[in-house]
Amino acid sequence: MIFNGKAIKYGDNVDTDVIIPARYLNTIDKKELASHCMEDIDKNFVNKVQAGDIMIAGYNFGCGSSREHAPIAIKESGISLVIARSFARIFYRNSINIGLAILECDEAVDGISEGDIVEADLDNGILYNRTTGKQFTTQPFPAFIQQIITNGGLVSSIQKGDIK
C-alpha cells in the first residue's frame, strides 16, 4: 500500500469541530461534508487539496466530538493518509473503521513541511519526503488494517467476507 501526495500541515489539538463544524451535521452526504472540511481553521483547504494528498498534524489530532463525519469528510476530500504525533482515541478508531489510513510518527511530523511531496510505503513502514530527500521509519500497516482501508471500511470488509 503506497500513497503519494503533497503535505498539508496543521498544528496540535485539531478538533473534530474544526474538521467538520456541527452546523453541517444535518446531513450524512459525504460530498457535502467534504465541501466544508477544515473550513473553520483553513478556508482554503477544499481548494488546495488534491486526491492523494497527505495531512500532517501535531498532538491529539481529532479530539472532541465522536462524529464519524470527521474522518469521512477528510477521506472524501481526497486525503489518502493522516500522519500526526498522536490521535484522540475515538477519532483513531473511527478512521480505521471508515477506511481512512492514519499513523503516528513524530519524526515525519518534524521533517515534513507544508507543500512537501511525500511518499508513504505502508507495507514496509517507510515515509519519504521527496522534496527534502529525508526518510522516516514507522510501524508497517498490518495486512488486515490494509484490507479494511482497501475495502473502504470495517463494514465493507465484513460484507466482502475479509473479516469474519
Binding site: 489539538n13 478538533d15 469541530d17 474544526v18 463544524p21 456541527a22 452546523r23 451535521l25 444535518n26 446531513t27 450524512i28 473553520d40 481553521i41 498532538y59 491529539n60 479530539c63 472532541g64 466530538s65 465522536s66 462524529r67 464519524e68 463525519h69 469521512i72 498522536s86 484522540a88 482515541r89 475515538i90 478508531r93 473511527n94 473503521n97 471508515i98 471500511g153 470495517l154 463494514v155 465493507s156 465484513i158 460484507q159
Partner: protein
C-alpha cells in the same frame, strides 16, 4: 495481577477472570446509544452489514437531542430516519420530543445505567455514566452499528490515572470547577487512551450531579472513561430509578496506576476555561474585565436540576445585564417540570433569562443561541473550540452554573462570591 475498577468491569463483560492494560478484548454491551446526528450514519452501516434485527430491543437506545426539536428540514429528515428505524426494530428506548432530554442526563434519570454496566454511545460524552460506577465510553457510528447488530465491541484495556479526592467544596464551587481544574492541570490529552478513576473520602462529599459533571468531561482530557467508586449515594440514586441488581466493583488496593493525583476539594476555586481549549483554565485572581454577550446554562455537562437551582440562587431578585442574552436549557423534561414546580423558571424569567425546551442546541453551535463574529459567551457546556458555538471569530468561556449566572448579571465574567456580596 491486580486490576483497576475499569479493568474489573471489562474483565467481567469479556468473561475473563483477569485482564491487563494493553490487552485486546471483546466485551458484551449492556447498552448501545446514539443520537439524531450519529445514528443516521450508524443506521446506514447497520443496513450494509445486512443485520435483520437489533441484538436486544431493550438495550439499543436512541435520543433525539442534538438538533431536536428539528432545527431545519435536514435535521427533521435525520430524526425521521431514526424514528422509522426504531419503529421497524421495535426499539423500546427511543426518546423523541416530549419524552426526550439531553441523552447523558436522560439515561441516568431513567435508570437505564446501573453500576458495573458497559455502555457504548455514538457521542463522546457517553463517558458521563462513570459517575454511577459504570464503564461507558464514546465511539463512532460504525462501532454503534456493529454494537446494535451484535451486542459486542472490542476494546484495548486501558491503564489508569488515579485521582484521590479529599475535603469538601466551598460555597459556589461545584463539580465543574473540579473537572476544569483537573483538565487545566493534566491537559486536553493528559489522560489520552486511559481511565480516570476517582476515589478517596472526598467522593462522598460530592453529589451524584457533581460526579456526573466530572465524568462527563473526562473526554476533554482525552480519557477513555472517567469512573467513580460506588457509595451509598450512588446506590440510593440508582435504586430509586432501576429494579436491576448490580454488582459493585472496587479497584484492588494494589492496582497499578500510571499516575496518582491528590486533589483537596476545599482548595478548588471557581475556574473558567478560556478559548479555545478546555485546558486554558484561570481562576478569578487571573481574570480581568472580560465583557460578554451571551450566557448559556444547560447541556449534558450542567443541565441538571441542581445546576439550575444553583444558578437561580444567583439570579434571584437580580437582572441580567443590558446587552447580555441569558439562555437556560433544562436537560430533561423532569428537570424542566421540577424547575417549574419549585419556582426556578419564574426567577429566571423575572431576571430576564429565556428558558428553552431540552436540547443540545447551542453547545455545539447547532441552533438556539449561535454567536456572531466577535461575540463572547460564558457557557456551562463542555467545549470552547474555535467556532464551537457559532462564528469562527466568536469565543466560548467554560464555567460552572454559578459563574455563568454571576456573569450574566455583571455583563462580564464574574465571580459568584463577588456578585452575592
Amino acid at each position: 495481577m491486580s486490576m483497576t475498577m475499569t479493568q474489573k468491569i471489562l474483565a467481567a463483560h469479556a468473561g475473563l477472570e483477569k485482564v491487563e492494560a494493553g490487552q485486546l478484548i471483546l466485551v458484551n454491551l449492556d447498552r448501545v446509544l446514539g443520537n439524531d446526528i450519529t445514528s443516521p450514519v450508524a443506521i446506514k452501516e447497520f443496513e450494509k452489514i445486512g443485520a435483520t434485527s437489533v441484538y436486544d430491543k431493550d438495550k439499543v437506545t436512541m435520543v433525539m437531542d442534538h438538533f431536536a426539536p428539528n432545527k431545519d428540514i435536514k435535521a427533521a429528515t435525520q430524526c425521521k430516519m431514526c424514528r422509522d428505524f426504531c419503529d421497524k426494530h421495535e426499539v423500546t428506548h427511543f426518546y423523541d420530543v416530549g419524552q426526550m432530554g439531553i441523552e447523558h442526563a436522560l439515561l441516568p434519570e431513567k435508570g437505564l445505567v446501573v453500576p458495573g454496566d458497559v455502555v457504548i454511545g455514538a457521542d463522546s460524552h457517553t463517558c458521563t455514566y462513570g459517575a454511577l460506577g459504570a464503564f461507558s465510553t464514546g465511539v463512532g457510528s460504525t462501532d454503534m452499528a456493529c454494537g446494535m447488530a451484535t451486542g459486542k465491541a472490542w476494546f484495548k484495556v486501558p491503564s489508569a490515572i488515579k485521582f484521590v479526592l479529599k475535603g469538601k467544596l466551598n460555597q459556589y464551587v461545584s463539580g465543574k470547577d473540579v473537572i476544569l481544574h483537573i483538565i487545566g492541570k493534566i491537559g486536553v490529552d493528559g489522560a489520552l487512551y486511559k481511565s480516570m478513576e476517582f476515589t478517596g473520602e472526598g467522593v462522598q462529599s460530592l453529589t451524584i450531579f457533581d460526579r456526573l459533571t466530572i465524568s462527563n468531561m473526562a473526554i476533554e482530557a482525552g480519557a477513555k472513561n472517567g469512573i467513580f467508586e460506588v457509595d451509598e449515594q450512588t446506590i440510593a440514586y440508582v435504586k430509586e430509578r432501576s429494579d436491576r441488581d448490580f454488582p459493585i466493583y472496587k479497584a484492588d488496593e494494589d492496582a497499578v496506576y500510571d499516575e496518582t493525583y491528590e486533589i483537596d476539594l476545599s482548595e478548588i476555586k471557581s475556574t473558567v476555561a478560556f478559548p479555545h481549549l478546555p485546558e486554558n483554565t484561570k481562576t478569578f485572581d487571573e481574570i480581568g474585565d472580560i465583557k460578554i454577550d451571551q450566557v448559556v446554562i444547560g447541556s449534558c455537562t450542567n443541565g441538571q436540576y441542581k445546576d439550575l437551582a444553583e444558578a437561580a440562587e444567583i439570579f434571584k431578585g437580580k437582572k441580567v445585564a443590558k446587552r447580555v442574552r441569558a439562555i437556560i436549557i433544562p436537560a430533561t423534561q423532569d428537570v424542566y417540570m421540577k424547575a417549574m414546580e419549585n419556582g426556578l423558571l419564574k426567577i429566571f424569567i423575572e431576571a430576564g433569562c429565556i428558558v428553552s425546551t431540552p436540547t443540545c442546541g447551542p453547545c455545539l453551535g447547532g441552533y438556539m443561541g449561535i454567536l456572531a463574529a466577535g461575540e463572547r459567551a460564558v457557557a456551562t457546556t463542555n467545549r470552547n473550540f474555535v467556532g464551537r458555538m457559532g462564528h469562527v471569530d466568536s469565543e466560548v468561556y467554560l464555567a460552572s452554573p454559578t459563574v455563568a449566572a454571576a456573569s450574566a448579571i455583571a455583563g462580564k465574567i464574574a465571580d459568584p462570591a463577588e456578585v452575592m456580596k
